[in-house]
């Protein structure tokens, strides 16, 4: 369980998150949506202790963020940040292999190698395994980073806009994979999405942020409405219903 308690965050006097409280239970996909600059990435990086917490309290499975050892948390929670710049000389296999580092600390066991192969296969990277990152297309790179977080094999997975640059097949493939993780293995996936349709189709719960506040929270069918799009995103797109699911007409 991720418990976020009265978290406020400001940068240079500018409030970014205002009194955010959320409970994310174990198992399932939670989609975090909201307009640009709403504070989604900031919230994820606070949960993953990539930025120091200013006020409030966050716990992940009872581990208090800011107090728990970094290597313990690395076996509990993995994050895919929105912006990554990594030395390009790495091969895809090396990058994905780093996902196992929290377990083997530099000395991979045969099981670790098996996991890496599985992660490569899961994101259709087998053919690209030996390629250097800087020779890949944007979507291929993105898939490699997702595979790395996947290989970390943690109970909690935070993904910041993983569908960036992915084509429709890769996007659906990734979302199916995440749904399997959530349904079959009881993993918890928190995922930032901009495409409300993907959120509505795959998430068990949608949480919307706007100007650093939680403005909507619930099952996709209940949350995604015309009024929701108008108040949260200030857009007059309408919502249709297809196969019992809300669908935004863009």
């Amino acid at each position: 369980m991720i418990r976020i308690d009265a978290v406020c965050h400001g940068i240079g006097g500018q409030p970014i998150l205002r009194d955010v409280s959320l409970e994310i239970g174990k198992g399932g996909i939670v989609a975090l949506v909201g307009p640009n600059g709403a504070g989604k990435s900031t919230l994820l990086s606070l949960i993953a202790r990539l930025q120091p917490l200013q006020t409030g309290r966050i716990t992940v499975d009872g581990h208090v963020i800011g107090q728990v050892r970094d290597d313990v948390l690395a076996r509990t929670l993995a994050i895919l940040p929105q912006h990554l710049d990594v030395a390009s000389r790495l091969s895809v296999r090396d990058l994905v292999g780093f996902g196992r580092y929290p377990y083997h600390k530099g000395r991979p066991t045969p099981q670790d190698l098996v996991r890496v192969d599985a992660a490569l296969a899961a994101f259709e990277l087998d053919d690209l395994a030996a390629r250097a990152l800087d020779t890949l297309s944007g979507g291929q790179r993105q898939r490699a980073f997702v595979a790395m977080a996947y290989a970390q094999d943690t109970d909690y997975l935070l993904l910041d806009e993983p569908l960036n640059n992915l084509d429709i097949a890769a996007s659906r493939g990734l979302m199916h994979r995440l749904r399997d993780l959530a349904r079959q293995d009881g993993r918890t996936v928190v995922i930032v999405l901009h495409d409300i349709n993907y959120a509505a189709a795959y998430a068990d719960r949608i949480v919307a942020l706007k100007s650093g506040r939680v403005v909507a929270d619930g099952a996709p069918g209940a949350v995604v409405t015309d009024a929701f799009l108008r108040t949260v995103f200030d857009t007059d797109a309408t919502v249709a219903h297809v196969q019992g699911r809300p669908m935004v007409c863009v």
Partner: protein, 312 residues
């Protein structure tokens, strides 16, 4: 890669052998002892500069900045100047050089952790800002040292001046043991960190999410860098571009991110450049140009080339 490492070791072995025996005349025992000492010093300096540069570049995530370009050795000279200024030359010369060096090392570690810790924290891995801050800092430190040189009296000036120029040919033998000790300790610490360094090279966010605490590893790396820079500066004076030359040669020869390979490789390349170069100059060509001048010229040029390539 393993083959290349073996090949490099063989080349280094040849260089060492050549350095010891080429052009040797007279009493062999004396020649070998004398040259052996210098060889050891060159090896120490080579490893210290190579490893400090490599781990600094891993920490900052680029291949252009080196501790020397950021002004680490300038900071060492400033500390030395301050000591001479505060103590006066007679007291300075009365203190055993080993004690002096330890004091200097401590000063540098404090200064570097404070100053460069702050710079790195403020600029992260933004190369351009780091480069600018580093260059400005090192100019500032160098001018402070220059200012100090002007206000102290001529005797003190001469002592400081003597320490301020790179010299590979006459190394202070008194310092060898202590320098060797510090290098060995740092070397062991760095070798044990080799897997962590691989992860640190991924950048602060990924490293942290894989469980490598950012501030702690930054402090550890900076401390090791300061110790090694202090060792090499105390032994041969400031050398600006050797580290850059050696690491980039290594990156060319060994296209990998793994420090288990890069560490031995840079050490070997540094040894070959220093010992081979010094042997050539000293024993084959008869020492007309100091090696430091050659290295700074070649290293400086490659710095320019790298910068231009990066800006393109």
């Amino acid at each position: 890669m393993r083959l290349r490492l073996v090949g490099l070791s063989a080349v280094l072995g040849l260089c060492m052998l050549g350095y010891l025996v080429i052009g040797a005349r007279g009493d062999w025992g004396f020649v070998l002892a004398f040259r052996g000492q210098k060889l050891l010093a060159l090896l120490l300096v080579g490893v210290a500069i190579a490893w400090s540069t490599l781990i600094f570049q891993t920490l900052t995530g680029n291949r252009i900045l080196t501790p020397a370009i950021m002004g680490f050795d300038a900071l060492y000279m400033l500390g030395l100047g301050l000591l001479i200024w505060v103590l006066g030359v007679p007291a300075y010369l009365a203190i055993p050089p080993q004690v002096m060096m330890l004091g200097n090392v401590a000063l540098l570690c404090l200064g570097a952790l404070g100053l460069f810790g702050l710079v790195l924290r403020a600029n992260g891995r933004d190369l351009m800002r780091l480069l600018l801050t580093g260059v400005v800092l090192s100019v500032l430190i160098r001018s402070l040292t220059g200012f100090l040189m002007r206000v102290i009296d001529p005797n003190e000036y001469a002592v400081l001046q003597g320490a301020a120029f790179a010299r590979f040919s006459n190394v202070d033998p008194d310092l060898l043991t202590i320098a060797g000790g510090i290098t060995a300790i740092c070397g062991i610490a760095i070798w044990r960190m080799r897997h962590r360094l691989d992860v640190i090279g991924l950048g602060p966010d990924l490293a942290l999410s894989l469980g490598e605490p950012g501030p702690r590893s930054r402090r550890a790396v900076l401390l090791l860098v300061s110790l090694l820079v202090a060792v090499s500066t105390a032994l041969v004076g400031p050398v600006t571009f050797l580290g850059l030359l050696v690491t980039n040669l290594t990156y060319l020869l060994f296209p990998t991110h793994r420090h288990a390979v890069l560490l031995p490789a840079t050490g070997l390349v540094a040894g070959i450049v220093l010992i081979g170069g010094q042997g050539l100059l000293e024993h084959v060509m008869g020492l007309t140009t100091p090696l430091s001048v050659v290295i700074e010229a070649v290293g400086g040029l490659s710095f320019l080339v790298l910068l231009l390539r990066m800006l393109r």
